[in-house]
């Protein structure tokens, strides 16, 4: 059957290579130009518990995984129990009868094709390690899709090359065996994907894109303390520290992290940190220090379900109001929330420019879904990220005698001398201070300084674009959302479109400062406004109300620790109507 779109899922016990197997499956298709999105589900345990990896491949642009699965690879019985109902009518489940008797389970879905592939026996026969089951299953999957085995072979070769020819060979052998088992023994041909323009596509996560954007932006100091789902950014930076002359510091805790970055930024380099909610909580005091000393800083906040340790390996958008109001006292900060890796890339570049131009902290918010799942792109045009450092003084000769670090300028931004240059000597002071930086607690000075710092907002607001509108302007229904919900909503809009329902999306990537006026017109014009958020308390709706007074009553919220699937949004909208 020719299709434009298939979803494949593999499931098994945690700790058995599900993730890397899924990632290879994604790669096979991205290599040939298909649109790919994937999703990895795993527990906060090193072993035990259930892992699942879903890949959606399409010959048309695709924005999110969905619930319906065409092919399910079940490495254990539990996978069938947990995911069988996601398999579409007439879909396929690959399983091994040796991993459990499924005669009973099968009865529930007479429409599904259960394909028994004796994984265990095969690897015993081949004399390869147990973990090779993954390759057998990949080979079998490629065959079911009537896809090119050579692509898989090449990828396996790339990945295992450095482990030596023997490892490459038994990996390939296993996958070939799986392929042949389907092709030659069972002779099944389940689907065939429509052909696409054969370009090699990248596959990357939101975290990867942030990392790339930061390297491009000239980030020279990256500090972090591991915390899911932000950890991969640390590991990426560590892996290139010598190639790109970046100091990457795994510090003793998140408090050290933010303060080190502040120190580095004070000394003149671009500095960034990333963390998740718990670490961000600990960084709150430091955030204010960056603000009062007017030290630029970029903070990546990869959300996960909370409070406290919460659900470390799952997804939620629960921290936006916290981020906006974070740290004691009042100060200007910027909060951004990209919706996909491409936005992660460019907004990270933007974050650095804003931080430098206005000498303020900028927070970029992702969530586990966006941080850890892959999306396919042809390439990013990195020339679109430029470096704007604002009023940075790097040469003594640009500085007049009597230099004032906190000069009370019209736009609120004061020229900032990097450390080490002759005439730029100053105090960066976490106490309220005068224009020189000396501690000063007078009432008159305080007001001047608060006003100076807040005055930056004027120019800043000119840079902040209104939210993006996707879909028709004359929609019956307007969805309001932010960050990573973008993908599932765009998919849902496609589905609704097919049902001839006119829906559009107002998507916020700039969340703070919030320009209420720019959206008042849209809200009032729309027949039906609906907020879609991956949280319990509809935080965007609150932000909108706080800034416009408009109450969006319709809400589609999900707070089970999982991101939205498009179908859920479709259902939600149909229920509201």
């Amino acid at each position: 059957m020719k299709v434009s779109n298939i979803s494949w899922k593999i499931g098994g016990e945690a700790g058995f290579g599900i993730m890397s197997t899924g990632a290879i499956f994604s790669k096979i298709f991205a290599k040939k130009g298909y649109y790919v999105v994937d999703n990895n589900e795993y527990p906060s345990l090193i072993r035990g518990g259930h892992n699942a990896f879903t890949v959606r491949v399409s010959s048309n642009e695709v924005f999110s995984i969905d619930k319906d699965i065409n092919i399910l690879v079940a490495l254990n019985e539990e996978t069938i129990k947990l995911h069988q109902e996601e398999v579409i009518y007439g879909g396929y489940i690959i399983y091994d009868e040796d991993s459990g008797d499924i005669t009973e389970i099968k009865k529930a879905r007479k429409d599904i094709n259960y394909i028994m592939v004796p994984f265990s026996k095969i690897i015993t026969e081949l004399g390869v390690p147990r973990i090779m089951i993954n390759n057998v299953s990949l080979g079998a999957s490629v065959a079911l899709l009537n896809y090119d085995l050579e692509v898989l072979r090449n990828i396996i070769r790339d990945i295992f090359e450095r482990k030596g020819p023997e490892v490459v060979s038994f990996n390939i052998k296993s996958s070939e065996f799986g392929y042949k088992y389907i092709k030659e023994k069972l002779k099944i041909n389940a689907y065939e994907l429509e052909i696409v323009k054969p370009v090699n596509k990248m596959l990357l996560t939101g975290n990867d894109a942030v990392f790339l954007g930061a390297v491009r932006s000239g980030c020279k100091f990256y500090a972090a303390y591991p915390m899911t789902p932000s950890t991969s950014i640390l590991e990426s930076f560590a892996s290139v520290e010598n190639d790109y002359n970046i100091v990457t510091k795994h510090a003793e805790d998140e408090i050290a992290v933010i303060n080190m970055a502040i120190g580095a930024s004070f000394a003149g380099v671009r500095a960034m940190v990333a963390t998740s909610g718990g670490g961000f909580s600990l960084m709150n005091e430091g955030l204010g220090s960056a603000a009062l000393t007017e030290t630029p800083l970029v903070i990546i906040l990869c959300q996960r379900p909370a409070p406290a340790t919460g659900l470390p390996t799952w997804s939620e958008q629960g921290d936006i109001l916290f981020a906006i109001h974070a740290s004691h006292g009042e100060f200007l900060k910027v909060v951004l929330a990209p919706g996909d890796p491409e936005e992660c890339f460019y907004l990270t570049g933007k974050a650095f420019n804003i931080a430098d131009t206005y000498q303020i902290p900028v927070i970029v918010m992702l969530d586990k879904y966006l941080s850890e799942n892959h999306f396919s792109y042809e390439r990013f045009d990195f020339k679109n990220i430029t470096v704007e450092r604002g009023k940075l003084l790097t040469r003594s000769k640009d500085i007049d005698a009597g230099y004032k670090r906190y000069l009370n300028t019209e736009d609120g931004v004061s020229p900032r001398a990097v450390t080490g240059i002759d005439r730029g000597i100053h105090i960066a002071n976490s106490d309220e201070h005068d224009e020189y930086g000396y501690s000063e607690d007078g009432a008159f000075n305080r007001k001047i300084m608060v006003d100076k710092r807040f005055r930056k907002i004027k120019k800043l607001m000119e840079e902040i674009p209104p939210p993006k509108i996707y879909g028709p302007t004359d929609a019956e229904i307007t969805i309001w959302s932010w960050g990573s919900c973008k993908g599932p909503i765009l998919e849902a809009m496609n589905i609704l479109n097919q049902k001839e329902k006119k829906v559009n999306l107002i998507h916020f990537t700039y969340l703070y400062p919030f320009d209420g006026e720019s959206i008042e017109g849209i809200i009032e014009k729309s027949n039906k406004n609906i907020v879609v958020e991956n949280n319990k308390t509809s935080q965007l709706a609150k932000i909108i109300m706080m800034n416009t007074g408009y109450r969006i009553k319709n809400k589609i919220l999900k707070y089970s620790g999982r991101q939205f699937l498009p179908g859920e949004i479709v259902n939600g909208i149909e229920q509201i109507e």
Binding site: L203, Y244, N245
Partner: protein, 298 residues
């Protein structure tokens, strides 16, 4: 931006300690031990022929931290307890700078204790001067983690129940490579220690016994004068013997001052290839080519 550390032969250096004064006068209580530290430090800079702009001092919050306003160098008056990580960031971003840290005992081994442990392990080439007045000065007289057992303060009216932190012992166990103790009542000796500490390549730590004349009526100038002696006076004291140093550091009846420990160990910066050629801050970032990196993702 060049670090002139150890370049004692700078031509035409004609600064005086007063050139390290800002326009602000110190606000410490009359007789406060911070004055001694302040004076020694300014003299040390002159002795080392350092220019104000070649120095960055990161301060904690406390009476000691208020010094940020009185010493003319680049300064970062950071949060309470967070001076060490800020200084670490500064140094790694521009290792040509002379980086110092000044803070109180509450700041350094109370709230900031964790950074102290880890900064010692790191052996970054900076100098940390701990103003140990064994009390919280700026918040007007509560116990510090260095306060002696039984010490009565506003927050411990029945007397402190813990044994005190010994900053020198702690630094020794945690891996600092130059460790000393000075007394703010003996500024000459202190100056000598400071000079060596700043010259030392690696993380140098100086605990300064600093009387707080207002809130600590136990650890006064006389208290120390009666008890301190100098390690230099001992004939066979070996500054490279860690165990010996630890033992000395724990002496209480007589209080040793001077240099407890002084060894060479590669610094953190030594291990960083990425700053071998030049400081991070000197890299051009206007148009970084990330093609190679993008290619990783195919």
């Amino acid at each position: 931006m060049s670090k002139i550390k150890n370049k004692s032969l700078r031509e035409s250096y004609n600064l005086k300690p007063g050139d390290f004064n800002t326009e602000r006068k110190p606000t410490w209580c009359l007789g406060c031990g911070n004055y001694g530290i302040w004076n020694s430090l300014k003299k040390t800079f002159v002795k080392l022929r350092l220019m104000p702009h070649e120095i960055v001092i990161v301060y904690g919050i406390g009476c000691s931290g208020n010094g940020a306003n009185f010493i003319r160098t680049y300064a970062f008056h950071s949060l309470h307890g967070r001076a060490l990580p800020v200084a670490t960031g500064v140094k790694l971003a521009n290792h040509k700078l002379n980086v110092l840290i000044m803070g109180g005992d509450g700041d350094g081994v109370g709230i900031g204790g964790n950074h102290f442990i880890h900064t010692c392990r790191r052996n970054i080439d900076m100098t940390y001067i701990l103003h140990n007045n064994k009390v919280y000065g700026l918040t007007t007289g509560q116990t510090a983690p260095t306060s002696g057992r039984g010490f009565k303060t506003k927050s411990t009216p029945s007397g402190v129940l813990e044994i005190p932190v010994n900053p020198v012992s702690l630094a020794l166990i945690c891996g600092a490579t130059f460790i000393a103790r000075g007394f703010s009542g003996d500024t000459g000796h202190l100056l000598d220690i400071m000079k060596k500490a700043i010259k030392h390549k690696g993380f140098s730590f100086i605990e300064v016994l600093q009387p707080c004349v207002t809130f600590n009526k136990i650890n006064t100038y006389n208290f120390y004068r009666d008890r301190i002696y100098k390690l230099e006076e001992l004939k066979d004291y070996d500054r490279s013997n860690l165990n010996e140093a630890i033992k000395k550091s724990m002496e209480e009846e007589k209080i040793p001052t001077g240099i407890f420990y002084d060894i060479d160990r590669p610094t953190y910066e030594d291990g960083l290839k990425q700053i071998e050629r030049k400081p991070l801050v000197d890299h051009m970032i206007a148009d970084i080519d990330i093609n190679r990196l993008l290619n990783r993702f195919y």
